[in-house]
Symmetry: C2
Subunit: 421 residues, 2 copies
């Protein structure tokens, strides 16, 4: 038993080292069909663990239908649903394709994808591009002419402009931007305005030099300037790129993915490979943006953005972003208490993420399934609140459900037994 | 006596209201000779209270000589000194011209000046443009070919580009940028990276649309991107624009300017008009950027940037920028203690400046000379450290000397007596 415990500790230390030494850089942009492993013309990717089309919640259903219309796979919502029912259009989780999507996480063949390379280990991960601000976006399970027109513009114009700018700039070091943004009031999940601004400072001089139509460049710059959360998607792809090399380590109990599909919350654990362990997603506690909305309107917690907490950002470092705690009527003391809780379920700390309001204490990182189960503390996520019929309606925080961690730990015990047998 | 106390309280409440309701916007850029009241071709402005050329410290002397060479007033440093000795070149404090300059605050006829309008009261104030990063700049009392070449480029190219961009953008609301930057880790004196980034987000789309040579636009964008403290100068001009309408209020004991010339620290007090009250400037306590530098190299506290503390930024809200406290080995608790001290010497608080790490407590604003003298607490300034022979060598904090406040209060008492007599 001591031997097994030592093996686990060694495996977890290795995972911690891998996660801490990852160096994600944004290197390219291109259509999902050209870039994302396993992507197909009739495939629509979604956030969270795998889920059948028929079991999806409102935002995911709407997002998938919207994407089918955007791609011209179907001419109407009814036709799209029939094709999905017949399996002529297929759905697949982003995480199965080294990808992550915010909100409903809807990604189709034409979606321009950010390509992030973890230069330490040479692996890549992907995320769609932010659709900009606003409450009605495909990622919030909304589709209408404005949404579809914006998606078409992103695919035709903005994606190529950003790709060309990245070719001029060379890799943009997202790790360095995150470190600095955390000093500037971002926890890099519900708030990424500083990260976005720092990114813009790096990319602008290169956008200026592009030999592309000036109207396209101007429209792209306006879009970037208006998108306060633009860099969140690159941060998410960076988190995924950092976590992939920590997958599949024997005896390792570190969580390598957390994601929600609006029905279930799922986690992956290093030693247990590609298996999702799931439990029903919790309701989000937070602030609704309009008086007309309340808990009865809200879909459960959803999106792949929990990948940020999986690398110790977002809810794990709330005191870095006191503005975010205001959504839940919190204060700095409660935010610090939350970080102290997250310290109890993590393997270690991240010297590159230092929390100013805690005298630059390094943030907790690398969730240990054992510690979650033993302490009874589940990961705390900052997150948006989505209307159950689609649309962004608020923001707040939510705890992961315990069930998936308990199941994973049981599976881990069986796995260890089978290895020892 | 009660009557006088009530008059003072009413006058101070009026000053507080004027300062809090000021709305500074950046509206224009142009050469000092065209814009600054009282500017002359043979005049060189400097930071701090008035000081004779022969009494200036190293950084100010070097800065003045550098400006004389930049303007072509003299062909050599020796000639410049002789002309200054003979009064053919004159020196004058920035504050006498509704202007503020960081460091030595050197401004000459060709210097491109930021024009800030306080739209609430319709008055304007001015500051030179940041020379960018680096340790050797005219404002740090350094002049060489690189420095002079950069000044010439700013006057010929960058100033006109920024002017044209501001014509496109319309007024840029600096008050709103400051409010937001304070949520993003800036105290807006020693740290203004967030404010600068927020400004760049606003100005970039307009720079893109300029019908000016592309090389000039590219060079200007590169300069802006590389200048982490760019917006400090606009913040300083904004602070001055906000304070001017609070000058000259009978019975008002609010400080309307603080500035240092490297020899003396000077203050102005509302009821006492244009008089400077001065005391020897204190040495700055802080971090030197290289091991070769220590206290023996440093000039005393200097620059007009203390105008930021005069409107409750910088050292008054240190907990908003924990990074800055690191220069003096401080921690969040010491920063909060410093803000609590500043609360004791201020008339009120500023609802537009809220400190995240103090649960969004509004920052203290409007220094009351009476409270300074009665508590024995002088204003705390964040500031740079300048080499006594010129050049930036560190950053830290410094307390204003008590002498100038004590003198001002005595003068105020005499003033009140003379009014009552």
């Amino acid at each position: 038993m001591t031997d097994i415990k030592a093996r686990i500790e060694a495996a977890n230390a290795k995972a911690l080292d891998i996660i801490r030494t990852g160096t994600p850089s944004l290197i390219d942009v291109g259509p999902a069909i050209d870039i994302v492993p396993g992507m197909a013309k009739n495939m629509i990717m979604h956030s969270g663990p795998a889920i059948a089309w028929r079991d999806m919640c409102g935002p995911h259903r709407n997002g998938v239908i919207g994407a089918a219309l955007f791609e011209g796979l179907a001419g109407s919502a009814d036709e799209a649903q029939a094709m999905l029912d017949r399996g002529e259009i297929v759905v697949s989780p982003c995480h199965d394709h080294l990808s992550v999507g915010a909100g409903a996480g809807i990604i189709s063949a034409s979606t321009p994808m950010l390509v992030v390379e973890n230069t330490t280990f040479g692996n890549r991960a992907y995320s769609c591009i932010s659709e900009g601000g606003g409450l009605r976006l495909l990622k919030w399970g909304a589709y209408d002419d404005t949404v579809l027109k914006n998606l078409a513009w992103q695919a035709k114009t903005f994606g190529p402009v950003l790709k060309a700018a990245l070719q001029k700039s060379g890799p943009i070091d997202i790790k360095a931007i995150i470190s600095r943004a955390v000093e500037m009031g971002d926890e890099c999940h519900n708030r990424s305005i500083a990260a976005t601004s720092l990114f813009l400072r790096e990319i602008y001089p290169h956008i200026m030099t592009l030999d592309l139509p000036r109207d396209d460049i101007r429209a792209s710059v306006k879009f970037l300037v208006d998108s306060e959360h633009f860099l969140l998607h690159a941060i998410m792809a960076s988190a995924k790129a950092v976590l992939v090399p920590a997958e599949g380590i024997p005896y390792c109990t570190v969580v390598t993915a957390m994601a929600r599909n609006g029905v279930d919350f799922g986690i992956k654990v290093s030693a247990l490979g590609d298996n999702w362990f799931t439990a029903p997603a919790n309701p989000v506690k937070g602030l609704y943006f309009r008086a007309e909305w309340d808990d009865s309107c809200a879909a459960p917690d959803l999106g792949d953005s929990a990948i940020t907490e999986t690398v110790g950002l977002g809810g794990f470092i709330q005191p870095a972003a006191p503005t975010v705690t205001q959504y839940v009527h919190g204060n700095l003391a409660s935010a610090i208490a939350n970080t102290h809780q997250m310290q109890q379920i993590c393997v270690g700390t991240n010297p590159d993420i230092r929390i100013p309001a805690m005298d630059f204490t390094p943030g907790p990182i690398a969730i240990d399934v054992r510690k979650v189960v033993h302490t009874g503390i589940t990961p705390l996520l900052d997150t948006a609140i989505t209307h159950k019929e689609g649309g962004l309606i608020g923001a707040g925080e939510v705890h992961a459900p315990m069930g998936c961690f308990a199941d994973a730990l049981r599976a881990f015990a069986q796995h260890v037994e089978s290895q020892s047998a």
